[in-house]
């Protein structure tokens, strides 16, 4: 059976890591018997492993952990540990947004405090198209109302003001699942600025 150098090297690596499958183990051992380059590679892997382990072990050995737990414990939240104790600010922001919606307060998306779910969905890594003017179309919304920048939320007599949305493309679907009546909002890009 012939294999490229890269295939051979990857096989030897898997053999060294104990990650061979099926007959790969015997195949690797056969290679090591016959191929000096395979043996050199295995020795090289051992050298690299040893050097890395030694280097990191030295750093760990020099570290003083005597006050580590004390330092950590002083920064832990006090009281019973629940999901509320955690730092899920997005969940809290969502809850606040829901409360404010029910109280009839419009939530400006650009402010970042409300509708965190919308911002989180739209503000992914690498999404750099800022300030794109959007036209919002609400499916399942009973009627359109207000100006171009006001959107009625399905199942609620509320609107949200939209100033700008960061989006990677022309079409984005946003699904809000936190309410009894789910709202599905399609966002489409227009040339209007």
């Amino acid at each position: 059976m012939s294999m490229t150098n890269e295939e051979r090297d990857q096989l030897i690596q898997r053999y060294y890591d104990g990650e061979t499958l099926g007959n790969e183990n015997s195949l690797a051992e056969g290679l090591l018997d016959q191929d000096p380059e395979a043996r050199a590679l295995l020795e090289s892997l051992r050298t690299i492993s040893g050097a890395i382990r030694t280097e990191v072990a030295m750093a760990v050995a020099e570290e003083d952990f005597s006050s580590f737990w004390t330092d950590v414990s002083e920064r832990l939240p006090k009281g019973p540990l629940t999901l509320e104790t955690g730092q899920d600010s997005a969940r809290k922001a969502q809850a606040m947004a829901d409360e404010n919606l029910l109280a009839g307060e419009p939530q400006p998306i650009a402010a970042g405090g409300g509708f965190a779910w919308l911002r989180n969905l739209l503000n992914g890594p690498g999404l750099a198209v800022a300030g794109v003017a959007m036209c919002l179309v609400a499916l399942f919304a009973p009627v359109w109302g207000g100006s171009d920048s006001a959107l009625p939320i399905a199942g609620m007599d509320q609107t949200i003001e939209v100033e700008s949305i960061d989006s990677p493309g022309a079409f984005v679907m946003v699904v809000q699942e936190s309410n009894d009546v789910p709202a599905i909002v399609w966002v489409t890009e227009t040339d209007e600025g």
């Binding site: 050298t47 030694t54 580590f68 950590v72």
Partner: protein, 200 residues
């Protein structure tokens, strides 16, 4: 002896991670101290392996345990605690490094010896000085070499070589496929081999 003190004094090998987690969620913060003690050096090692800076690694390691504590109620038992906490470590370390930007001198600088030091006539420690010099030079070189690796390759090789994680565990920790792990290890080692070929 109070409950917290009794737990702290309990031999570590008698308490499984899941037992400690249950106790922590039930309000026993001292049990979390056991988990911290159990994993602090490993978490530090991973953070150091990624960041290459001890103070930063310590800071990140502490953040890891604080974040893990806060999120413990949402920890799903379908993965092991250490895989979960390694994942937090990797994410925080890479995020820390991304924000830090700064290049700092490393602790290995003070043990990096010039070739002419081999002929030094001063007192020498026990053992073969040539061999010791080679080991120190190799250590210094490996540190520099690791620093040149992309973060994902560096993380993969640290999790493999230092923590001894399997491909599957590394994949779970890094949130990628096992094939990706193998590929990252392959290219990381290839680059390290290239950088180290003149050392020995």
């Amino acid at each position: 002896m109070g409950a917290a003190e009794r737990i702290v004094n309990t031999p570590l090998d008698q308490l499984e991670d899941r037992d400690l987690i249950d106790r922590v969620i039930d309000g026993d913060q001292a049990s979390y101290g056991l988990l911290v003690q159990r994993y602090q050096s490993k978490i530090f090692a991973v953070a150091y392996g990624v960041l290459r800076h001890r103070e930063d690694a310590r800071e990140v390691a502490q953040e890891v345990f604080i974040k893990a504590y806060r999120n413990l109620p949402s920890f799903r038992r379908d993965s092991s605690f250490y895989t979960w906490i390694y994942r937090i470590t990797v994410n925080l370390a890479i995020d820390f490094q991304r924000k830090a930007f700064r290049k700092r001198e490393t602790t290995f600088e003070d043990v990096k010896l010039a070739p002419n030091e081999i002929s030094s006539t001063g007192p020498r420690p026990m053992g073969n000085p040539v061999q010791q010099l080679e080991e120190k030079q190799l250590g210094a070189t490996i540190q520099e070499a690791i620093e040149t690796l992309p973060a994902d390759q560096r993380t993969a090789i640290i999790l493999r070589e230092v923590q001894g994680l399997s491909y599957k565990e590394i994949a779970e920790t890094m949130g990628c496929a096992e094939g990706t792990v193998m590929s990252r290890l392959y290219y990381a080692r290839k680059k390290l081999q290239e950088l180290l070929k003149d050392v020995r």
